[in-house]
Symmetry: C2
Subunit: 194 residues, 2 copies
DNA sequence: TTATAATCTTTACAGTGTCAAGATGTTGGG
DNA sequence: CCCAACATCTTGACACTGTAAAGATTATAA
């Protein structure tokens, strides 16, 4: 195992962070391996010591962003210590959307090429490789169950909830969105009124 | 004006159709100008007689796909001649999602680079450059108005409706979606229960 | 210390978007 | 009918991309 500096410091992590920085500044369209290498001050082939291909670096970057996304969702859960009914779901939804409003480039970056596998079934043997959705499923399953919702309706409800916040995030991160009110409050209303 | 064959037939339209075919087969990631030119049997620089850049060809292809999308939405409206209450909205939503389930590559193609401008206000001076959303807004505005919904609530409701179907389309077109029931019926339920 | 392995550089190659110059066909005015 | 203007297409070139191979450099372990 080697996660420590060899020659040039911990180039692997540097590439990931510089890559994400590049995505934030220029968008996924302008991203290139050679640019990231140049930013890190190494030759254009150096990344191949840590990643087998451009896709592998992108995958590592996506995992990193997904971890930040998870933290934001977990913050929503922590902010509801009592976890009154569906309040925690609304908070999660709000944070879901706000994460992408605060980092608009992340939405197409995470979801456009989309190696994300989706499993909508609620039993534990059906897992998605996208942890945020698994978290949302788990919390929603518990909250809705405690609220007395029959298992039949739960799957549809959870899909609808996910679709709504996911769609809001997608729409809110398009170009030139004109909206006359405060997003954060508005999103909360929309999720509540579902 | 010249929409007729000059040298090589109507290369402009050929490029658009071949480009969309390529997107369908290999996805947006594998798309290249030179491939499309080769498919059409012309030299690699020939497209520059009809499009100023690769982006312009992609834009024309998006417009073409958007027209097909509009036809599908308009079919939903025509299929509800009585237009009973919200039935037409459910049909539109169902067709919205099914269009992308039937053509999974179209979703990232239309929405990833996303030159789409969004205007969520309901007065006519706020227009999106994405006709499907304008159509959905118009129909929803009329239907919900007839149902007696106050204008205050309409904006949120329409956004929520759009976000839900848009999110469903996004989720349904990810890789390896496992779902244990029939999409078409399920989508209808989800939209109804909103 | 020395051999082995990990890391990085250099060089090379095919594929990409785009531009400039020229070739080829089309059209309209004399 | 002819020729000039024009639209269309080809050829060649350039910079940039991802990636592979070979070699150089440095760390690790025996």
């Amino acid at each position: 195992m080697s996660n420590k500096p060899y020659h040039h410091g911990n180039l692997r992590n540097l590439l990931i962070e510089a890559g994400i920085e590049l995505i934030n500044q220029e968008g996924i369209k302008q991203f290139s391996l050679r640019k990231v290498a140049a930013i890190c001050g190494v030759s254009h082939a150096a990344p191949y010591s840590h990643f087998q291909s451009k896709e592998e670096l992108l995958k590592a970057m996506q995992d990193y962003v997904t971890e930040r996304f998870m933290e934001v969702l977990e913050n929503a859960i922590k902010s509801c210590p009592d976890q009154k009914e569906q309040k925690v779901l609304v908070e999660m939804g709000k944070n879901y959307v706000m994460f992408f409003i605060n980092n608009p480039q992340y939405f197409p970056f995470l979801f456009s090429q989309s190696s994300i596998e989706v499993n909508l079934s609620l039993n534990s043997d059906g897992r998605s490789n996208f942890p945020p959705f698994e978290l949302l499923k788990t919390i929603a399953f518990r909250v809705l169950g405690e609220a007395g919702m029959p298992k039949e309706k739960m799957q549809d409800t959870i899909i609808a909830l996910w679709a709504t916040v996911h769609g809001l995030a997608s729409i809110a991160t398009m170009k030139n969105v004109h909206y006359d009110k405060d997003w954060e409050a508005k999103i909360e209303d929309i999720i509540w009124n579902k």
